[in-house]
């Protein structure tokens, strides 16, 4: 993965984290706000219910009081205060009076608590309504909730009591309104809110007792746990009820316990708030946030890509320059912009490459001087050998001319013969130098390296087993089906000859000469090994230097020629040597050399073994 990709990935991760955090934060804050709004709506509804409850209670109390203050009621009270009063004449009165005062419940109760007339339970006349005779300030109490027995079963009523006193006898007027679906229907509810009422009229939870403004509420069983919880602890509670997998179908219910005079739980008002709007708004906001996030993400992607590219461009230039340096272009430079770390790195890189070039030039100059010195030394050495006999011969000739003229002719012949011989030596020396200077360019043609190796070995077979010389055993390990390469067979032949000659010189006591070929990536390799005395590390380092030789009679050009031929073929040569064990030369040749032969630096691979 490139630096740019990593940088880009980091940007993306950071961006995603930021977007995720923002989206989560927005969702959380939104939900809290909606919950607060929902709570406010519910509180408003509860307050409305309480106000409505209070208003209705006052209204009920007012109507019951109005009945008690009516002339007919007063006459009834007066009549009933008489001894042996006939109460049966009033048995149907409650129905008519309740109808005219729009009360659902109305009972006329005598001084002893006996029901004289009942609207909601007409057949219950004569029975006692004991609670009404208990001491209580009914006028001050106002309206209260009560479980009312009717001929249709128990009901929940918002009741009030008023008394008409005649003498020492009271006539109780007990009236009220049914707390049921009509009451729920009278509540003004905002959209997505509803009110349910559970009438706690039985010891156990009864599903039909949960009503809405139309009648028994559906799925009443879902409210049972909440009702039971409130029965155990009659305080306001809030709970969410889900009606399916879709969260928008859920409702949050605020449960308000309704208690009677004795603080007994008579009902539970549920104010339900649908989550449809909230969930819809939340979804809309979430989608909006996601849309904004997506756009931001896309924009962030582009900016990240642009930023990563901008940040990594100098680095990429540095990488390219470093790659050029690794390919030999030591003069590679990068442009420097700004003063940041990358710019400083670029400056350092440029300084480094500048120093490299400078050092290389110095090194080349030093090597050139050293080479010239070596060449001068070799030339002096080579030329000095024939010159010294020439000088001696000339001096002998002069001496013979002066001392013995009779022998002068003989001396002259011998001396001129010696002198001509040494002059030939001088010519040979000059010729060798001339040949090295005139190394030809390779003429490429399909070549099988195995064939060349076999031919060279065949040439030397006679010398390997020559009489008076310790034998040398050649070993050929030539890979079958070696790829054909483009090369100059003559030059390669000469290079292998030089290597074999070198090996023979290294094995004066005989040994094993091994040639190995094999396929390598993009070419072939040749290994020439001997079991000679080996080279010292210093010798290994300088062995390819022209005119350098460790031998007494060598010109020092053999391995230099080999190295030059390999280089001309685009290959490389290395040497491994172990003192006392032997030396191996490795030549790697490409299948097809480059058009312009490269100049490879000399590589010395040493394998030293402690003596």
């Amino acid at each position: 993965m490139t630096f740019r990709s990593k940088l880009f990935l980091n940007f993306i991760i950071a961006l995603l984290l930021a977007v995720g955090l923002v989206t989560a934060g927005v969702t959380l804050v939104t939900r809290r706000v909606f919950d607060q709004l929902n709570g406010q709506h519910t509180d408003a509804m509860v307050q409305q219910f309480q106000h409505e409850f209070e208003r209705r209670g006052q209204d009920v109390a007012h109507r019951v009081k109005a009945i008690a203050e009516e002339e007919a009621t007063t006459r009834m009270a007066v009549d009933l205060s008489r001894p042996n009063a006939d109460v049966s004449v009033y048995v149907h009165d409650a129905r008519g009076v309740s109808s005219s005062h729009q009360l659902n419940f109305l009972d006329f109760v005598g001084n002893d608590g006996s029901i004289i007339s009942s609207q909601e339970y007409p057949a219950r006349f004569g029975y006692k309504l004991a609670w009404v005779t208990q001491p209580d300030d009914w006028a001050a109490r106002g309206a209260f909730l009560m479980k009312v027995d009717t001929d249709q079963g128990p009901a929940l009523g918002l009741m009030a009591v008023s008394t008409v006193r005649v003498g020492d006898r009271d006539l109780y007027v007990v009236g009220g309104e049914r707390l049921g679906k009509e009451f729920l229907g009278s509540l003004v509810l905002p959209t997505d809110m509803r009110a349910l009422l559970y009438l706690n009229l039985a010891p156990d939870f009864q599903e039909p007792n949960l009503i809405d403004d139309k009648g028994p509420a559906p799925d009443a069983d879902r409210f049972q746990p909440l009702v039971e919880k409130i029965e155990a602890d009659p305080v306001e509670q809030t709970e969410k009820i889900s009606w399916g997998f879709d969260p928008s179908n859920a409702e949050v219910f605020h449960a308000l316990p309704l208690v009677g005079r004795q603080k007994e739980l008579l009902g539970v008002l549920f104010v339900g708030s649908s989550q449809r709007t909230v969930v819809s708004l939340e979804r809309r906001i979430r989608w909006l946030a996601l849309g904004v996030a997506a756009v931001g993400l896309l924009l962030g992607l582009l900016l990240s890509w642009w930023g990563a590219a901008r940040v990594t461009r100098p680095v990429q230039k540095l990488v390219a320059a470093a790659r050029e340096v690794s390919h030999g272009n030591w003069g590679s430079r990068v442009e420097v912009h700004g003063h940041d770390e990358i710019a400083q790195l670029s400056k350092s890189f440029n300084q480094m490459t500048g120093q490299l070039v400078e050092q290389r030039e110095k090194l080349v100059q030093v090597e050139r001087v050293a080479a010239w010195r070596e060449l001068a030394r070799r030339l002096a050495h080579e030329l000095k050998n024939p010159l010294f006999p020439l000088q001696t011969t000339v001096e002998n000739l002069q001496r013979a001319r002066e001392q013995n003229s009779l022998q002068f002719d003989e001396v002259f012949r011998e001396s001129t013969g010696i002198m001509l011989g040494e002059i030939d030596n001088l010519k040979a020396i000059v010729s060798r130098f001339s040949d090295f200077a005139k190394m030809p360019q390779p003429e490429l043609a399909p070549v099988n390296l195995n064939d060349i190796a076999r031919n060279v070995i065949k040439l030397f077979e006679a010398q390997f087993g020559a009489v008076g010389r310790p034998p040398i055993t050649p070993e050929l390990h030539l890979q079958e089906n070696l790829p054909i390469i483009q090369a100059d067979a003559t030059l390669l032949h000469r290079a292998i000859e030089n290597l074999i000659l070198n090996a023979m010189d290294a094995m004066p006591a005989g040994g094993v000469l091994m040639l190995r070929t094999q396929t390598i990536e993009h070419g072939v390799s040749l290994e020439v090994s001997d079991t000679g005395s080996g080279l010292t590390p210093e010798e290994s380092e300088r062995i390819f230097t022209p005119y350098y030789t460790s031998k007494q009679h060598g010109s020092g050009l053999g391995l230099a020629i080999v190295q030059a031929i390999v280089a001309d073929h685009g290959g490389r040569i290395s040497v491994e040597s172990e003192s006392g064990v032997g030396t191996s030369f490795h030549i790697d040749l490409p299948s097809s050399p480059p058009h312009k032969p490269q100049v490879f630096p000399m590589v010395f691979e040493k394998k030293e073994v402690e003596a």
């Binding site: 049966s88 048995v91 339970y121 057949a123 006349f125 004569g126 029975y127």
Partner: protein, 410 residues
């Protein structure tokens, strides 16, 4: 042939003849008697029995008695075309009927020339028509008699001659069943039913015959015994439950049934009052009644015959409910009592109250005597007072002044 005053059996004529001022006047012929009935009869064919409450059957029977001659021993009419004191001159089913005086009636021509009968008239309207002198004769529900009297309506009331009772439809002989029925019977506050629901028009009873008929009704306890009822109820497990059917068209039955449910609840019995068609055979209620309220008229003033007829009618309603040999005409009071006791001992019949028939009369109606048990309306003997008896306002403004409730001589 001029009509002579009819001789009223059982001495009742003597009792009601004690209305001195009105009956002392000489009878006069002419005029149209206006009658309003609550029942809406669809047919006057003597063969057909009307559907609906017992009031409808009674009304049809009364009209039939005016236009047909009675021939059968059981009081049914043979349908002779000109057999009764009146002749049907016009008939609108369910709405009205007009009867003309039968000039050739063997017992003499009726005093009034015609009777106009309006059918299907609600009680409230009938009461209003009486107050406005738009009608001369109408039925008054017994529970409303007191209210009508308070409004100044002239009333005529018969002795209690209709039994309101609970009959259990199934004969379950198990001890618990009998005990449960007994518990229900003793839990009932019959006096409260009479006092409050019937507004004191009627008498509580535990017997099959009224006190005035048999003289032994007081031997059958009619008062509530709540502790005993609770004791009996507690002996039964699980708690007894009854579905009590009543005629949904009869407000009296409904209120009594609801009161029974309240009384039973106090005793630990569960009674559900369910409105149902009047005939048990046509009951279509989802809750099949275990028992139902019935109103059975007394058809004779003779106790033995009355008891026989009563049991026959009850058997017709619920077959086998009062099986046994009929009493002879000359049965002694002891035998009659024993028969009653025999029938009531299993509590399948629980008598509640005896109810009288109450009629509202206009001031110009003369010689009206409430029919004795098993007797029909004596409209042939009624004449109309006043110079303009034939007109709609024959009595004029003084009608109100002359109207006064006619109480039961008892």
């Amino acid at each position: 042939m001029l009509r002579r005053l009819a001789v009223i059996s059982l001495g009742l004529a003597l009792l009601f003849a004690a209305i001195p001022a009105r009956t002392s006047r000489p009878p006069r012929y002419g005029g149209t008697l206006r009658v309003e009935l609550g029942a809406a009869l669809a047919s006057l064919d003597p063969v057909n029995t009307p559907d609906g409450s017992s009031g409808a059957a009674m009304a049809k029977n009364q009209i039939d008695s005016l236009i047909y001659a009675p021939t059968g021993p059981d009081g049914t009419f043979a349908g002779a075309p000109i057999g009764g004191p009146f002749i049907l001159s016009s008939w609108q089913p369910g709405k009205s009927a007009t009867l003309k005086a039968n000039e050739k009636f063997p017992q003499g021509r009726p005093f009034v020339d015609a009777i106009e009968i309006t059918l299907g008239r609600a009680f409230r309207d009938r009461l209003l028509d009486l107050e406005l002198n738009k009608t001369d004769l109408t039925e008054i529900p017994p529970q409303d008699a007191r209210h009508a009297a308070e409004r100044g309506v002239r009333l005529s009331q018969s002795p209690p001659d209709e039994l309101l009772a609970i009959v259990f439809l199934n004969d379950r002989a198990a001890a618990n069943e009998t005990r449960a029925r007994q518990a229900l019977s003793v839990s009932l506050d019959r006096a409260a039913i009479v006092t409050f629901l019937l507004q004191k028009t009627g008498e509580p009873t535990g017997a099959l015959l009224p006190q005035w008929s048999s003289g032994t009704a007081f031997l059958f306890p009619a008062s509530a015994d709540l502790p005993r009822a609770k004791e009996l109820s507690a002996q039964i497990s699980p708690s007894p439950k009854f579905v009590l059917g009543y005629d949904s068209a009869d407000p009296l039955e409904q209120s009594v049934a609801e009161r029974i449910a309240v009384n039973a609840k106090e005793a630990g019995l569960m009674v559900t009052a369910v409105g149902a068609p009047p005939s048990p055979s046509t009951a279509k209620s989802d809750s099949v009644p275990d028992a139902r309220l019935v109103r059975v008229p007394l058809l004779s003033s003779q106790p033995a015959a009355a008891l026989n007829d009563l049991l026959r009618d009850l058997n017709a309603l619920v077959p086998g409910i009062a099986s046994g040999v009929a009493l002879p005409e000359s049965a002694s009071p002891q035998n009659i009592y024993n028969r009653e006791r025999e029938v009531l001992d299993n509590y399948r019949i629980v008598p509640l109250v005896w109810i009288p028939q109450v009629y509202g009369l206009s001031a110009r109606v003369r010689n009206w005597i409430p029919p004795a048990p098993g007797q029909n309306w004596p409209l042939a003997d009624v004449w109309l007072d006043g110079p303009n008896a034939g007109g709609p306002n024959a009595d004029g403004p003084d009608a109100k002044a002359t109207s006064a409730p006619i109480k039961d001589p008892e």
